[in-house]
Symmetry: C2
Subunit: 428 residues, 2 copies
Amino acid sequence: MRIEIICTGDEVLTGKIINSNFSYMAQKLEDVGLSVHWGTTVGDDRDSLLAAFRMAGERADAVIVNGGLGPTVDDLSQEVAAQAAGVGLVLDEAWLVRMEEFFARRSRIMPPNNRKQAMLPDGAEFLDNPIGTACGFALTIGRARFFFTPGVPRELRRMLEEQIIPRLLAMAGLQGAIFLKRFHSYGLGESHVDQLLTGIEAMVPDGGVKLGFRAHYPQIETKLTVRGRDDDDIRAKLGPVAAEVRARLGNFILAEDDQTLEGVVLAALTARQASLALVETFTAGAIAARLAHLPGAEHVVYRGVIARDLDRVPGAVGLSHLLLTDAMTQDKVEAVARAARDAAGASHALAVLIELDAGADRIDLGGTVWIAIAHPDGTSHGGVAFRRSRIVGGREWVRLGAAELALDCLRRFLQGLPVVERIDFEKV
Amino acid sequence: MRIEIICTGDEVLTGKIINSNFSYMAQKLEDVGLSVHWGTTVGDDRDSLLAAFRMAGERADAVIVNGGLGPTVDDLSQEVAAQAAGVGLVLDEAWLVRMEEFFARRSRIMPPNNRKQAMLPDGAEFLDNPIGTACGFALTIGRARFFFTPGVPRELRRMLEEQIIPRLLAMAGLQGAIFLKRFHSYGLGESHVDQLLTGIEAMVPDGGVKLGFRAHYPQIETKLTVRGRDDDDIRAKLGPVAAEVRARLGNFILAEDDQTLEGVVLAALTARQASLALVETFTAGAIAARLAHLPGAEHVVYRGVIARDLDRVPGAVGLSHLLLTDAMTQDKVEAVARAARDAAGASHALAVLIELDAGADRIDLGGTVWIAIAHPDGTSHGGVAFRRSRIVGGREWVRLGAAELALDCLRRFLQGLPVVERIDFEKV
């Protein structure tokens, strides 16, 4: 089945906004085993829209049009769709009532402009928008079924998932049930993960499991798209494959599905009624900023301390006698973690001290990352886990990599996994 | 002049990467007074590429093609371009030598694959790539001039600016000199800025100045595109308009051109040999993370302290007797700023304490933001500047808005401007 996407709007065409709706839609379709064959971007211009609709209507089986359903005069999708299909516009009374209720719930009167959003091409199939005033609709133009969607990302997302993808799967004659399983890992490069998972798709002989990746440094997302007759069939297929992925990627899997690394760390601390102190240098708050704003973190993250200059770290944690910069040692970093923990009255502390190379930013600029985790277990005044690593690749690469490595070390420690395990992103 | 953009590559078409090259190119063209009329996205597929090139060659005057110039078998741009133009491929000897030198400088032998990158359609005009192995080229297909560019963003950017835009301006018969002036502001909404700048374009009667905006909450970018005979003409046109923009937006302009708010704050502190302590709560390191990783910040940002729970703020700055949560007052927030400054031994301190509304995240969830800046001026133990604001719009909106407001208050204080001035983003 040939699917095309048409993105409309002057803001997209002029580059005023980055078109993330396109990649979102394309990924969602890939995730269910469908593919986009062609993308078109046009502005709020009648002639361009009409030409784009007609061309896609000749080439494709299904077309998703995004944007142009708003209340203003430059929102032209309904009008041009009707023209391309050779029909008129008719008022959808039910949607008009829904819109009036939408405004009434917000104690506002619906402006007369919005009435336009209830005018749909004659014969169009209504697509519900439960969270906005731009309803979608489906209509046949040429030989293709067109699906018109709102430009507001969260409205698009809901309509795509709940209404359009099921219709596309039915058109494609694909088995009804689809499930996307995701694993998030840190420490292995994409080609390394790919190699470790060789042959995993073949575990399900009917081709019902497809493997894919998405890399966004420092993490890699591994995706399994599972297709089956029904939910039971999917569970039966996914179970052994997911177990095998977990076995092969092992300790490197930091989260699954909608979980995040920082969410996993926060949940692990919360579950053991633990609390945390943080010490940062060159990451400069990047670790705290991922973790401490999350709901519930107010009961867990007791204190974060940032000292950009290593010489100022000891003073900030009440160890004024300590001198770090004559020579960093494991003992000193561990002492900093212990002191931060004690000063904050927390059960755990994560200290991340970075010796950044001197000089201007360049691709071979690196940093030595010293990580210590003070915790209440072990000896009478608690133990410390330690990890040292060297990351090379420029200032931003080091900053992002160090924040990820440190949070992942804490995740490993809290999950009882080895804190020290060779990763692809470090120099040895 | 009708310009089209064709983006190629399976990674873009499947949404695996977000197509930021498209918006970059479109914006750059807008900035010099050119417009993109149509965008096409196709994968690494011979038939799709050929169809896209032929259609654009019939419709457009100029076409920019992005991607597909790499060394691997799925990089098809040269081959399909030659086919569409009805010519063969010929070896560009000079580029082959340049590539071999490129590898030699990195102590590597050029892999045989890369030879393919020196095969250009017969008659194509060479476009230099001084920082990579994918050279660009220009070629006429149908009635349009095509410009083929590499997919690597930094290589594309340089080729677009240095080689393609001058050619497009010449084709369009536009005056040679163009200048883009940018102002960054915080606190006024886009429509408010637009209204304040009414009539500004008309100050230059020949239409040589064009006004535009780009909003990325919490900042608004105001752009003046100036066209003139030469640099002197541009300076003469821009001078009075830029002065008028500064007069009308006044204290709300936080930076110009490539400057950033955090960069301006750091420079202002550095210039007066000042140093800074930070205290954050719900922003949880977001303010420190913008400022303290910048080059030079190691001599300025002495210490940052984060306490997610307001009750833990006093202990973190050595004021254990203070109780914040019975009732916040200006006096208490000022005391926190003073204590943070003293504890860190810094000349200045910025304390940003946020009372976040209770309950689940929703659009009407807000926070009261208490900001105090302790400084060495005024009385014998220094003064404190104060600002309170209420921001509503959900957790992320409050978090980002509070970080921006706080940094901007510090910027205003350091520049001798009023710290308290009504902004559009606060509830009163």
